[in-house]
């Protein structure tokens, strides 16, 4: 294991524990205020925890009553904005890390040139930060962060301040440079997680609620947040003879092949697109799951309309919305075939 992390920050109600393998990139997902920034600040050395420890490649970052200062951690941070030093040109910005590590001017510029090339920013090297675009600046910032040869690279929503048009190019660059490198990327974007991360950590309310391989988490989410990101309806409960039963006693039937040992903790997911909406309880036909719900929200979602009711969602056509007069507050029935429900342990 290259990183063992466990920390508590009482003032922010933060208590998270996880481990990372060598060369792994971890995506940290979670709603605002879930503790993502706290996690990064703790690792970067900008915040000291009340308890816990972190060991990176055998070196203690904090723990046992001591905290290694930020500049001796070998952990570099890439923020939402490039934060290039305005008084240095691009090349010297990238050379900053090697220079601080004690390399000579010439040597550190060589390192900087190599990394600028790596992020396709060679032609920017003589410019001042004021003369590069947001996307270029962020690419330079990536080169600068990597040029300091960090044992761990932290990325705090690196694409969030960029135009949608330039984000894909940076994402490709990151995918290349993060390959087999220890990195933690905080993101709101499921695409970042899919393209850049090996595993996903989901934080909610200062706790780790889910940790697993990216595909696994997105296909079989065990938290509401991950299910939302994956665009799936999630129902948690206990396995029974033909599916699961929730704490409220609601039953969800699943495909016969998925059934679990009754009594074990289970999660059921189904796509909103598989949900049909009825004004009256459907009596005939194949659907075996019917949920009486009250519509909380109706909004366009691509070419279809998303009808939300609490933690469940259905996708229907615009004409259905008009025909059925689906408006918030209306009581309707969501129906989904049991063959559309995937059941798995949690």
């Amino acid at each position: 294991m290259s990183l063992q992390f466990s920390a508590k920050v009482h003032a922010r109600d933060f208590a998270v524990e996880f481990e990372m393998a060598d060369g792994e990139t971890l995506a940290v997902l979670g709603p605002n205020g879930a503790g993502k920034s706290t996690l990064l600040a703790l690792l970067a050395g900008l915040l000291t925890p009340d308890a816990g420890s972190a060991v990176l490649d055998g070196r203690t970052l904090f723990g046992g009553g001591r905290s290694v200062p930020a500049h001796r951690r070998g952990v570099s941070l890439l923020a939402q904005e490039p934060l290039l030093f305005p008084h240095l040109n691009v090349l010297d910005n990238v050379a900053f890390g090697p220079r601080s590590a004690g390399a000579g001017r010439h040597e550190s510029r060589e390192v900087a040139r190599r990394w600028l090339e790596e992020v396709e920013g060679t032609e920017l090297s003589g410019r001042k930060p004021g003369q590069v675009s947001g996307g270029q600046g962020q690419r330079v910032a990536v080169a600068r962060a990597l040029a300091s040869d960090p044992g761990l690279l932290l990325l705090d929503e690196p694409m969030s301040a960029l135009d949608a048009a330039v984000a894909p190019a940076l994402r490709r660059t990151l995918r290349r440079v993060l390959e087999s490198r220890n990195a933690i990327i905080v993101t709101h974007n499921v695409l970042d997680a899919l393209m850049l991360a090996d595993r996903v950590l989901v934080l909610e309310g200062g706790r780790a609620v889910e940790l697993g391989a990216t595909r696994d988490v997105l296909e079989r989410p065990r938290s509401g947040f991950a299910a939302g990101l994956a665009g799936l309806n999630l129902v948690l409960g206990t396995a029974d003879s033909d599916g699961l039963v929730t704490a409220d006693g609601e039953r969800v039937a699943a495909a016969a092949g998925d059934l679990l040992a009754p009594g074990s903790a289970a999660a059921a997911v189904f796509s909103p697109g598989a949900v049909s909406v009825f004004l009256a309880r459907p009596v005939e036909g194949s659907p075996r799951n019917v949920f009486p719900v009250t519509i909380s929200d109706v909004e366009p979602h691509g070419r279809v309309m998303s009808v939300r009711a609490g933690h469940l969602a259905a996708e229907v056509t615009m004409s259905s919305v008009a025909e059925l007069e689906l408006v918030p507050g209306k009581r309707v029935f969501f129906a989904v075939k049991s063959t559309e429900v995937r059941l798995y342990p949690r």
Binding site: G45, G74, L77, L83, H87, F96, S100, R144, A145
Partner: protein, 265 residues
């Protein structure tokens, strides 16, 4: 600074602004008008004048260096750290800004004077401050230091700490961060602080007169020389005043030149 074309300044402000500008410029013009140019050269090159100018420049430069040496750390501590009583300390440190210089002189007298607080300690070290050039430098530093601290602290606050945080995660130790990131970032603020401090030191009069005395070549700086010359030779006083104005204008202009070059990308 850019002015939006949509919002106009009320016209009456121009009238008051012009009056205010005249209030400052007219006395300067009146003084220039009183200069006897035929004797100007002789007046400002007399022994006592040259001594006073030389002493003023030398002590003001020294004071400015001291202001930077102590003021930069003070501004850093005030802007970037938090401790109990900080607000009170800040107010006290900036006190010389609003204190009449004469009061500063009296305070220094009771600190560094021959019967002052630190007298016995200084005596042991064999340092005699009374009536020495050192006393002039102390007086100037005392009144000028807050100008540097104030300008720099403002610059530090508006620069924020995010660049420093990034620099430290890139492996730069606190001193490297200060030298390679913080100071370059606040250079404009530091420069204007230095100019203000230098100008204040150059113009220092009250504290010097009270604390250091007045002796040609030792403690009689240009303002003291002007004050003395005024008794018997008003023409010399006017000529020297013009020299003082010229030096001040020169320094301010120079600093802006440097700043503009810094600002240019």
């Amino acid at each position: 600074m850019s002015r939006r074309s949509g919002t106009a300044i009320p016209r009456w402000t121009f009238v008051l602004a012009v009056l205010g500008a005249l209030f400052i410029l007219l006395p300067l013009a009146a003084m220039v008008a009183r200069v006897r140019w035929s004797e100007f050269g002789a007046l400002i090159t007399s022994d006592s004048s040259v001594d006073a100018l030389q002493l003023s420049l030398q002590t003001s430069v020294t004071s400015t260096v001291l202001c930077v040496l102590f003021g930069v750390p003070m501004a850093l501590v005030l802007a970037r750290s938090r401790f109990p009583g900080q607000k009170v300390l800040r107010a006290l440190v900036l006190l010389p800004l609003v204190l009449p210089p004469v009061v500063g002189g009296i305070a220094l007298l009771y600190t560094f004077g021959r019967q002052g607080l630190l007298n016995s300690g200084l005596e042991v070290l064999g340092v005699e401050i009374a009536f020495s050039t050192t006393a002039v430098v102390l007086a100037q530093t005392f009144v000028a230091l807050p100008f540097l601290v104030l300008s720099l602290e403002g610059a530090l606050r508006s620069a924020g700490g995010r660049y420093e945080a990034v620099a430290s995660t890139l492996g730069a130790g606190p001193t490297t961060v200060l030298r390679r990131v913080t100071l370059p970032l606040v250079m404009p603020g530091l420069l204007s602080g230095m100019v203000l401090s230098f100008a204040r030191a150059l113009g220092e009069f009250g504290a010097t007169l009270t604390f250091a005395g007045s002796l040609q070549g030792v403690t009689r700086t240009l303002p003291l020389e002007i004050y003395l010359q005024r008794e018997t030779d008003p023409d010399a006083a006017v000529a020297l005043s013009l020299v003082l104005v010229a030096v001040a204008v020169f320094v301010v202009t120079l600093a802006h030149r440097v700043r503009d070059r810094e600002d240019r990308p």
